[in-house]
Symmetry: C2
Subunit: 417 residues, 2 copies
């Protein structure tokens, strides 16, 4: 017997795709969720994997596990390389595999942009995947190890500078966590070097860090970063990334590890859907988040460019992706129920950015707060938000142990290839 339920194909199991699938799982549809990875990554905590506080399994859940009990949801691991919007087909890298859809939800997210210098990528890894986080962890830990090995035998070593490019939330998190770890955790582990002498330098091209926040919170964030020992350099544009150094105008800054948190580029799948993409490669969508001219194709999350009725662009943050995913599922439900489509509105519940242990900034409506209270709020929101009960309980336990003991059991260096 042929399956008569509408087939919904979701490309990408980030926040947008995952919440779309969870909403659709309750409807009389067949859902196929496709991702290049076998796991959903809880990106807001990736920096903790990079800084060796958490293990990958603590912030990532296998997608099959999430949908085990939803028999109308199928999970396919594979790389989507294109679409045939007329024939309603999705094409895979594995060329023998194509799947057809009645509805398509593209939630392929974003990667890094290197200001037109893709050659900087291997020299300054960004932080979007578990693999990225493990690579940053490896480089940071190896920098300390290499300095210790040199110091043990009295051979000169380059200065232990860590340069983070980009003063948005990811850059601020990385800088704060790294300074904290160097001062408190690493300090007891080495005999020849003094990890407290490590310099953490956060470079931002604009006039202030956390530019999406109000100026008073940016100022607070900068002060909290300074308290942790981070050197914040605003209005500073990186002009070159090289092996062991970063160029800032004419100045050459030695850098044992350079990390990239500056630019975002939408998935190349955007350009395969539409000619109408913005500078970052995001697809301009209609009021119901569909591709103009294709009522059955939704584009959501970081891949979508959408402004609310008052002209405010919806930001590329997890809550927006989640709301978009749920909305796309509601529109498919509306079609099934023969109800009209609606216009998407983003509900901004507030923002939180963590800076380090007991340090953060936040705002809810017009209320701004910072320091320990903001950090507690951040901690609570993020732990509660983690997907999957088991992970949640384990992260709580892990953090409790980490917080009180300053042990870092996750501090493993594993090689690439």
């Amino acid at each position: 017997m042929e399956d008569r339920r509408p087939h919904v194909v979701i490309v990408g199991a980030g926040f947008g795709g995952l919440y779309a699938a969870q909403s659709l799982a309750k409807l009389p549809v067949k859902v196929i969720i496709v991702d290049r990875k076998n796991h959903h990554t809880f990106q807001p905590l990736l920096y903790q994997v990079a800084m060796a506080v958490l293990s990958p399994a603590e912030i990532a859940s296998p997608i099959r596990g999430i949908f085990r009990s939803h028999k109308n949801v199928e999970v396919l691991l594979g790389e989507v390389v294109g679409f045939d919007l007329e024939k309603q087909m999705v094409k895979f890298k594995d060329s023998e595999v194509t799947i057809s859809y009645d509805y398509l939800i593209v939630a392929a997210g974003a990667g890094h942009a290197y200001f037109g210098h893709p050659e900087w990528a291997p020299l300054a890894p960004g932080l979007k995947t578990i693999e990225d986080a493990l690579e940053i962890r490896r480089r940071v830990l190896m920098a300390f190890e290499s300095a210790e090995r040199r110091a043990a035998v009295g051979v000169p070593a380059p200065p232990l500078n860590f340069v983070i490019v980009g003063g948005g939330p990811t850059g601020v998190e990385l800088a704060g966590a790294l300074a904290d770890i160097a001062r408190r955790v690493m300090a007891n582990d080495f005999r020849f070097i003094d990890p407290k002498q490590a310099r953490v330098i956060l470079v931002e091209g604009g006039p202030r860090v956390l530019a999406a926040y109000p100026p008073d919170l940016s100022a607070s964030a900068e002060k909290q970063l300074n308290d942790l020992g981070v050197e914040v350099r605003t209005k500073t544009v990186v002009t070159g990334v090289e092996d062991g150094q970063v160029r800032i105008g004419d100045e050459v800054l030695p850098s044992a590890v350079t990390m990239w948190a500056a630019g975002v580029a939408a998935s190349p799948l955007g350009k395969m859907l539409s000619d109408k993409t913005d500078k970052a490669g995001r697809v301009t969508v209609a009021n119901d988040l569909t591709l103009p001219g294709h009522r059955n194709v939704f584009v959501i999350g970081d891949l979508a460019s959408y402004a609310d009725a008052d002209g405010t662009p919806v930001p590329g943050v997890a809550p927006a992706a989640i709301q978009m995913g749920k909305f796309a599922a509601e529109m498919i439900e509306a079609d099934i129920d023969r109800e009209p489509r609606r216009t998407f509105h983003y509900l901004d519940k507030g923002s939180l950015a963590t800076i380090g242990r007991s340090k953060a900034v936040g705002m809810v409506g017009k209320i701004h707060f910072s320091g320990f209270i903001a950090w507690l709020a951040w901690l609570f929101v993020h732990v509660m938000f983690l997907i999957g009960f088991r992970n949640r309980a384990f992260v709580m336990a892990e953090w409790a142990v980490t917080y009180f003991s300053y042990q870092r059991a996750a501090r493993l260096i594993t090689d690439r290839a």
Copy 2:
């Protein structure tokens, strides 16, 4: 002021090196422990990482963390490439770094041997490091994913055969765990393939599995493997390992993933210490575990070839390495106290080999036992043995959750480079 305490350099932070360092930490010596990895790996549980039951951080401890409170122990991360036994120097791959010693303990362990076919290595990974375990995990999980993707669109896929070469403890563990997972855990996760149809084939050249155990326990192990659904093929010699298949004489066995648990070769550092190495590259040592002619150079663990007074060779197992590590430290203490050296004796406390959930074999003296009791004994011994309190508690919790829920949160596929 010059440090007058004897300098003891330990190469390798496996069981032998780690226990030597822990014993030496209490003596008036300076200890430098060197390893290529920044972590001690609890090898007996590596197969659980390979089978996606545990995460790397649950069976590996950063070496610096273990010795944090021992101020006379220094940890260096680096690759040793040779020795100058006359000048008492250790040479590193980082050519600017050499360190001198008064005592040297070489505990560099063993790797895989592919019956003279090193070209088989990339086709059939072994299981000695965290990286090995993650590679096997990736291949096994990807085999299921690839089969599901093909089945979803009706494209034929190769049979889901898993071939494990070598019927020693590692091969038996891998085979049992894989069969168990395919039947119980994977079964609910896929929509198009039936993971229960996966075949797990354990190939052993000799007449029985677990050849180091008495025949009745080998027979019991084979029966327990059969109960789990493993096909055991003894007296079967692998003549070729190719992409997607294994050759056994004239027979070609399709293999989605081939794993190697057959041969062991001592670290190449053995040949740099001595011309007197056995077939497996192990160094023949004197009664006090020193290199003949070099009273200040100990060779211990899997790198040492040593027979007890009655001619019984000391096996390459963790308890033997630990006893050797402690003994080497005692001999250095004897020198400090101007006492005579002694002869090393291996105390065999018994052996346990796990086969799968609730399945194992064991012997203590002349008592043989198998099944659930043996498995409980194995579980108890191994969890208690795990180094570091935190890991121990977490592994207990992790196992408890895993045992009752059959969830596999560690089931992440992470890419290699």
